[in-house]
């Protein structure tokens, strides 16, 4: 058992953090030049032939940087449905995608092409009208598609489970990145802001909520990395791990942001400070795909119902009457 990153994965994280800090709004082509759009695409298709664990490193850093672009919609939502020639285009930075699997479609303003779930398969949607809607989080849009025709058939509906698992794990990791950044702001503020003649971090009414925020974040991160590994390895526990990770991490990110806003006092409530943007992304993540309550209902079914067995959750009976 080894739950550490490789030196290469650590280097990828450092590169991503440095790059996104210097280039807060990179273009799709720039991401392709860094090799990020083709991380898990096979080498013969123009990618790096790596795994979802490396993509997970990027999702965490992209969340931290509040990246605005079609990375999530292309790599998490659509990539499993794309045939080899279209994957090559993604790896090369020639195309970005989004997937319409529900009424609200992310990144419609930025994605080059749109795929749609219909009946037994996933198709490219051609000639549709796109309308981008107002969202609280201005760094990630939602929109609707109207009309249009199904064009090329991209994949069977069977790929939807992989899409679901990748998306939930990716959102969980983004949530961890968002929470990390919010916590860093809050710690820095508690170390430097003085009231009653002392830094406010000496007061346990401030420091203990921050310790709890750290605790929630690290638990979220453990679940999210577990989910990423399960997705990368196509492990039997991938569905329940992804559901658990997204359910926990989205709530954790919302809580951590709320603690950070409270610790900042008035400044945390202003439009000027970055915290509200992190908070709005956390809320976006919580609402997208499936809420934490919905995902926990799935987890409960796999734990408690006969029909839920086979999802990788251990339902081995245990003794209810203990001696001793």
């Amino acid at each position: 058992m080894d739950f550490t990153f490789t030196p290469e994965q650590d280097a990828l994280r450092e590169q991503a953090r440095a790059f996104l800090s210097a280039n807060p709004e990179p273009s799709w082509q720039e991401l392709a030049e860094l090799g990020w759009t083709g991380v898990s695409i096979a080498e013969e298709d123009g990618g790096a032939g790596l795994t979802f664990v490396e993509e997970g490193v990027l999702f965490e850093e992209l969340g931290r940087a509040l990246y605005r672009g079609p990375y999530f919609s292309t790599v998490a939502l659509t990539l499993p449905a794309l045939p080899a020639d279209l994957r090559t285009e993604v790896a090369a930075g020639d195309a970005s995608w989004t997937l319409a699997f529900g009424p609200l479609v992310p990144d419609l303003d930025l994605a080059d092409r749109v795929a749609i779930v219909g009946g037994d398969g996933i198709y490219e949607l051609e000639g549709a009208e796109r309308e981008v809607l107002a969202t609280s989080d201005v760094t990630r849009s939602l929109g609707v598609v109207r009309g249009g025709d199904p064009g090329r058939r991209l994949a069977d509906a069977g790929v939807l489970e992989e899409i679901r698992n990748r998306s939930l794990a990716a959102l969980a990791l983004e949530a961890c990145g968002v929470a990390r950044r919010a916590l860093e702001y809050a710690i820095e503020h508690a170390q430097t802001r003085e009231q009653f003649g002392r830094p406010i971090g000496v007061y346990q009414a401030v420091s203990h909520p921050l310790a709890d925020a750290y605790t929630r974040l690290e638990l979220a991160r453990s679940l999210s990395l577990w989910a990423a590994w399960c997705v990368a390895e196509v492990d039997a526990q991938a569905p329940v791990a992804a559901a658990a990770a997204k359910a926990f991490a989205a709530e954790a990110a919302v809580q951590v942001c709320e603690t950070a806003i409270q610790v900042h006092g008035g400044i945390g409530f202003t439009w000027e400070h970055v915290l509200h943007r992190l908070y709005k992304r956390a809320l976006w993540i919580e609402s997208f795909a499936a809420s934490s309550t919905t995902l926990r209902a799935e987890v409960a079914a796999s734990l408690l119902d006969a029909t839920g067995a086979g999802s990788g959750v251990d339902q081995t009976p245990v003794s209810l009457t203990q001696g001793g």
């Binding site: 058992m1 346990q204 420091s207 750290y214 453990s222 409960a300 009976p317 209810l320």
Partner: protein, 386 residues
Amino acid sequence: MDLRDTAEEAAFRSELRSWIEENLPEELHGHRGGAARFEGPEMRAWSRALHDAGYAGLTWPTEYGGTGASYTHQAILLEEMARAEAPPHVGVIGLGMAGPTIMAHGTEEQKARYLEPILSAEEIWCQGFSEPSAGSDLAGVRTSARQENGHFVVDGQKVWSSFAHLASFCILLTRSDPESTRHAGLTYLIVDMHAPGVEVRPLTQITGEAEFNEIFFDKVEVPAENLLGEVGGGWQVAMTTLLHERGTLGFALQAALEVQVRKLASLARDRGADPLQRDRIAREWIEMQAVRFTNYRSLSKLVKTGRPGPEGSISKLVWSEANQRVTKLALELLGPDAALSEENAPYGGYWQHQQLRSRGNTIEAGTSEVLRNIVAERVLGLPKSR
């Protein structure tokens, strides 16, 4: 990153699993733990069997009678013991606290004298740190050790001492310099619990059991060779003990929580749960998995770098609060039957006992308040509150 056992770890796990299956006596299966339940000879025999099979002191160096195995093996051992609902080795304090402290600070004579009987369960240890006026603020210790004619004379009172009624020895934190305050002037001693002047009184707790004791010392003579570390250097030695107390706990706690959550799920299947209760059960399962993988992250760093990751410091805090919620949720699932106890209650009163016992979880081995201070100050780098 690979969350599977290596071939070597898998072999160890499967060998261990069969060993437990073959050797765990039926009457010890599902043993609830707690020092009051450790008295019988069958617990010593079980501990001895663990030692003979090489499972006691798994990570201890072979020169001290250990197996010299990796921390990963120790984690596997704790997981498998909990999953099999097997009781731990009776030498909880000796294995986890006294032994590692003696290895770090003891003389060669002390190592030769004390370590092996801890593993074989011939000698049980207790800890004498907390006092009526020194709880979380351990530096307030008042129990005195006066140097006189080549030995120490100990007077004072210790409290919350598990296993004291069974123990052969106590690791005792004393104040040797009466003029000193706080962290200076403390001295760490090994005290024979059968020496004249040592009196143990059990403390009956919220469950009606007596796991803890008070220990009274009245002019107890302690030979000079029982000094651990240096006179006046007791605080540093005590920190080694506490580091081990919190450091080795995580896996045992997570594994116990896993068993508890599985029992909760079985209870819900048995007696039914409404959608709100199902949501809370799912929450607890998810959080239990989160503790598990947090421990794995910390352990992997320990194995690779020799230092556990900082995230490991949250295990005990999270476990204690989770165990309180899980046991209370179980009582809710029992409905009005929750008010019954012992043999009149469903499942022999298991959940009623567990729920009451869980209130101690956020107090023992570092209160949640102290643990939050540790996270805030040592992990997050916030200014000290004191």
